[in-house]
């Protein structure tokens, strides 16, 4: 397995050198195919895209949904760009509802307010980080995520859950495993796709595509990671909705 990973990394390195073109997708974004597909489908997304040719996405996220708080360099903005690129005939909009320092439970109790007057086709709920940092009882976390997903579905949206970031230096400080488990289980029970940000970033770190140990204070690395996450998320959504971009184009 590691040999394969090494080979992939080498191939990537080679493609970096050989590609050279400025506007090609940044190298090192590659994600193993099994992390980009889900057996659970996004039926509402599929329907709205094919009938209404639009896709309204709401991202409910914590601080790690952003690089710096203001601009579009976080993964939601990058996903929007990637989706527009891949689905040129569809009207895509992505809105970020930033819930800084809120646990899943906090978000759920505020959900009515967050959703007020909005009718997103898809809600991407990135959660777990704050709960893990505060060591919220995994049972409570599970109840909260469970209720949240149910409420979002009831509101008429498809849901994608997105788990924690992987950070090699964080492992000493934050216990992530129970929260990752809970999110996997809840996603399975609601038959909703889980975007495994943790595994993807772990993969990038293992294969050396990103040096997540990096100590520098610059935002370059963070921007590149979010760009890749945004692209991966866009592919994930398209795959989970079983959309065939080529077919959409021919329909036009």
């Amino acid at each position: 397995m590691r040999a394969t990973a090494g080979l992939i990394a080498l191939t990537l390195l080679w493609s970096t050198v050989s590609a050279g073109a400025e506007d090609a997708p940044p190298p090192g974004c590659e994600v193993p195919a099994n992390l980009l597909t889900s057996e659970n489908t996004l039926k509402k997304v599929a329907e709205t895209v094919s009938t209404e040719r639009r896709l309204d996405i709401m991202v409910i996220g914590s601080r790690s949904a952003t690089v710096t708080t203001a601009d579009g360099s976080g993964f939601p903005g990058r996903m929007e760009a990637a989706l527009r690129d891949k689905l040129p005939t569809i009207k895509v909009s992505v809105n970020l509802e930033l819930q800084i320092k809120k646990t899943a439970g906090d978000v759920v109790s505020d959900l009515d307010h967050i959703l007020e007057g909005k009718q997103p086709t898809l809600v991407i709920w990135q959660t777990g980080t704050v709960d893990a940092m505060r060591a919220v009882d995994p049972d409570d976390f599970r109840t909260a995520v469970d209720e949240g997903v149910a409420a979002l579905q009831k509101h008429g949206a498809d849901v994608v859950l997105m788990n924690l970031q992987y950070g090699p230096r964080m492992e000493t400080m934050i216990t992530t495993a129970p929260y990752l488990d809970v999110m996997r289980v809840v996603a399975q029970q609601h038959e909703t796709p889980l975007f495994d940000r943790f595994a993807i970033m772990h993969h990038w770190n293992e294969t050396g595509q990103f040096d997540l140990f990096n100590n520098s204070r610059g935002v370059e690395l963070a921007k590149r990671v979010h760009d890749c996450l945004g692209r991966a998320l866009a592919s994930f959504v398209i795959d989970a909705a079983r959309i065939k971009p080529a077919e959409l184009r021919t329909q036009k």
Binding site: R134, A135, D137, P168, T172, P178, D211, R217, G218
Partner: protein
């Protein structure tokens, strides 16, 4: 080849010998046949072996996931090394302090247990200090904007007054520091448990089961800081500890006929296989479809905090199979290959603390060297080597000290440290 205990026993006072050698000859009827089986005064090496292995596994599990992690039992079933550690701790504690209680009375034995509790507490605070040092270093040197949110975890450093007091109260327990507080609480309640266990063992076990059920019914737990609850709920995990004590004080012997039944063995193996398959679906999600949804809904989540019944049964099944296939007179127990694990098991508190420290150090090394698979492997392996070497030094010292210090006082203190119910 005699065990370390046998070699060093010569210089000890009689009471110390009784404390250290596991089943001594007079209470042979108490020595349970299958689990604590030896009929001579030899120390039960299987307990030391498994506890030593559990300590290694806990160490490996505390490191970031790597190749070695695949060797740990949590990847092959529901329970993990913590169950083994707590059960064996209950077993040996009951054995050692049970003898003391019979010989010297309730008060003296309790005093000795409390002394042990104090040692564990001091060890915990010591580890916390090391943790603080490491965290403070990370906090000042690491500012990658990708992890701005996660670095918020270090906010506690801004109010050391609260944090340190909460740590002393065992409420603030950073990553990997959950087992010792559990152990402290369990040992604190050992005197009354032992007192009752020596009179009404089945009643004690029954009460323990009842507390476990009540805990599940009413969600009992101890509060943690800054919020949440203890990661290892003492009200639930006491079941393993008390069960260990029950086995030590004759329960295992009474279960012997049950344990030798083929039907039970079959059930245990079937359960272990089923658990293995379920665990497999976690790693290969595609297999998840073979688990019926109803079972999935009933089964998940498998709660570690409250010692899920599935975990407890998994441990029982493992123990039953281990007892069956590893008789206490198994020659492998004397093999030099298993010696390191056995030595580690014989100095469990010291080696446990060392393991937590080495896990911190390992994290630190991996973070600084940006480790690949090879460095991971080296860190895991050297950790185990260091633990074994330290255990060997402790044994050597114990032996020398026992031979040198003829006076009863030092020998007894030494015995407390060594044979102690950890």
């Amino acid at each position: 080849m005699t065990s370390v205990t046998d070699q060093s026993a010569g210089g000890l006072t009689e009471s110390a010998v009784r404390e250290r050698a596991l089943p001594p000859s007079p209470p042979v009827q108490k020595a349970p046949a299958p689990v604590g089986g030896p009929t001579s005064g030899a120390r039960e090496l299987r307990l030391d072996l498994f506890r030593g292995l559990a300590l290694w596994l806990i160490f490996v599990d505390h490191l970031p996931p790597n190749l070695f992690t695949w060797l740990t039992i949590r990847n092959y079933g529901f329970s993990d090394a913590t169950e083994i550690f707590i059960f064996i701790s209950g077993y040996t504690a009951a054995f050692v302090y049970g003898r003391a209680m019979t010989d010297r009375g309730f008060v003296v034995a309790s005093a000795r247990i409390l002394k042990r509790v104090w040692q564990i507490y001091v060890a915990h605070v010591f580890l916390f200090t090391i943790f603080l040092a490491e965290i403070s270093y990370v906090a000042t040197s690491f500012e990658n904007p990708l992890y701005t949110e996660e670095m918020g975890i270090l906010d506690f450093l801004k109010q050391p007054d609260v944090t340190i007091v909460q740590a002393l109260l065992l409420k603030f327990r950073p990553v990997n520091m959950d087992v010792l507080p559990l152990y402290i609480v369990l040992m604190l309640f050992l005197p009354p448990i032992l007192w009752l266990m020596q009179r009404k063992p089945d009643l004690t076990l029954g009460l323990s089961v009842m507390l476990y059920i009540i805990t599940w019914q009413f969600d009992l737990n101890l509060p943690a800081y800054p919020n949440g609850v203890w990661f290892f709920n003492p009200f639930a995990w006491q079941l393993l500890f008390v069960f260990g004590a029950w086995c030590a004080l004759g329960g295992a012997r009474r279960m012997a006929p049950l344990l030798s039944s083929r039907i039970l063995l079959g059930i245990c193996i079937a359960y272990l296989l089923a658990a293995f398959f379920v665990t497999l679906t976690w790693h290969v999600p595609r297999l998840g479809h073979f688990v019926p949804r109803i079972i999935e809904q009933w089964m998940y989540p498998i709660n570690k905090t409250d010692l899920d019944v599935l975990r407890f049964i998994h441990f029982l099944a493992l123990a039953a199979v281990a007892v069956r296939f590893l008789p206490s007179n198994w020659p492998g127990l004397r093999s030099p290959w298993l010696k390191p694990a056995i030595l580690c098991g014989q100095h469990s508190l010291e080696i446990f603390c060392l393991g937590v420290f080495l896990a911190f150090a390992g994290h630190f090394v991996l973070a600084e060297v940006s480790g690949g698979a090879l460095i991971h492997f080296v860190v895991s392996l050297s950790g185990i080597v260091i633990m074994s070497a330290a255990a060997a030094v402790f044994s050597w010292y114990k032996q020398v000290a026992a031979k040198g210090g003829k006076d009863a006082k030092s020998a007894e203190a030494n015995a407390d440290l060594a044979g102690g119910g950890s």
